[in-house]
């Protein structure tokens, strides 16, 4: 059974959803406080949504210096799956583990509604078991959700079917070159069971669990 760390920053609020969803898919998901510095027992890590450190200064700016981030960086560099959801995505960008930055939505609205997202790149830990072109409906819940990438190097993994927030290339999820670090703005963990209104997010989390199972002990 694969072990996945779900990091809890002060201000995280989706860690239990992420843990619940990953456990439901057979992974051993453990909550890890942001001051932890050793993630060597884990096959992958999820940075959940929320408002880490109050999102002060910029979303993710302070969280990227949390003690756990050195271990997260090491995981990224050693090819293990690192997935940031919503605020976790913002943290990965601030940490330089993903290109670009997430700024306020084009229309300055906190967008809180289900959105359609098309998976276009299936060579990443979050999409490897998904058919290319699959459209999933996931809840979006963010204010700073607009990706801007002046370098133009962001590898778009999934795209909003409609332009909901001005995100460059309609990017809803991007990956690093190796495909083991993925940031996604809408929430697969909040759409992982029919009782939540949609189980569309499961295919993404199933892919993540499968990727962590491939990590040698």
């Amino acid at each position: 059974m694969s072990r996945i760390a779900v990091v809890v920053f002060p201000g995280s609020n989706c860690e239990l959803d992420a843990q619940w969803a990953l456990r439901g898919l057979g992974a051993e998901a453990e909550l890890v406080w942001h001051r932890e510095t050793d993630l060597s027992g884990f096959d992958g890590v999820v940075l959940p949504g929320g408002f880490a450190h109050g999102d002060y200064l910029r979303a993710g700016a302070i969280a990227r210096f949390s003690p756990v981030m050195s271990a997260v960086t090491e995981m990224a560099e050693t090819g293990r799956p690192v997935v940031g959801i919503c605020n976790g995505f913002q943290i990965l960008c601030e940490a330089g583990l993903l290109p670009g930055a997430l700024i306020a939505n084009r229309d300055l609205r906190f967008i809180c509604r289900p959105v359609e997202v098309e998976v276009i790149d299936t060579d990443t830990v979050l999409t490897a078991t998904v058919e290319p072109g699959t459209v999933v409906t996931l809840p979006l819940s963010s204010y700073e959700g607009q990706l801007t990438d002046p370098t133009g190097t962001a590898r778009v993994v999934a795209r909003y079917v409609e332009d909901v927030n001005g995100s460059q290339d309609r990017a809803a999820a991007i990956a690093n070159e190796a495909g083991n670090v993925v940031g996604i703005m809408p929430h697969p963990e909040r759409s992982s069971e029919e009782i939540l209104g949609s189980a569309d997010g499961r295919v993404l989390l199933e892919s993540l669990v499968a990727a962590t199972e491939k990590i040698p002990a």
Binding site: A61, A101, R106, T148, P150
Partner: protein, 79 residues
């Protein structure tokens, strides 16, 4: 030593807040072409040497205070 850091979006990066303020000013009848928002930080830093303090604050800007991907900054040290 008192230090002021002015932070603003790089010109090519969208500033939705500035755009909204600009529209509102135009609605009020002001002839405004554009508004760009920024942030000002006031720091009190230990040190005697202006150049050394400026260098230190520059390091702070690079590491934490700004996101070099999207922001520019300017440092003023009150000697």
């Amino acid at each position: 030593m008192k230090v002021t850091v002015h932070i603003e979006r790089r010109p090519e990066i969208a500033d939705p807040e500035g755009t909204a303020i600009s529209r509102s000013l135009v609605d009020l009848g002001y002839h405004v072409r554009s508004v760009r928002t920024g942030r000002t930080l006031h720091l009190e830093v230990d040190g005697e040497d202006v150049a050394a303090v400026e260098k230190l604050v520059d390091e702070m800007c690079q590491r934490l205070l700004t996101n070099p991907v999207i922001e520019d900054y300017r440092i003023e040290v009150e000697g």
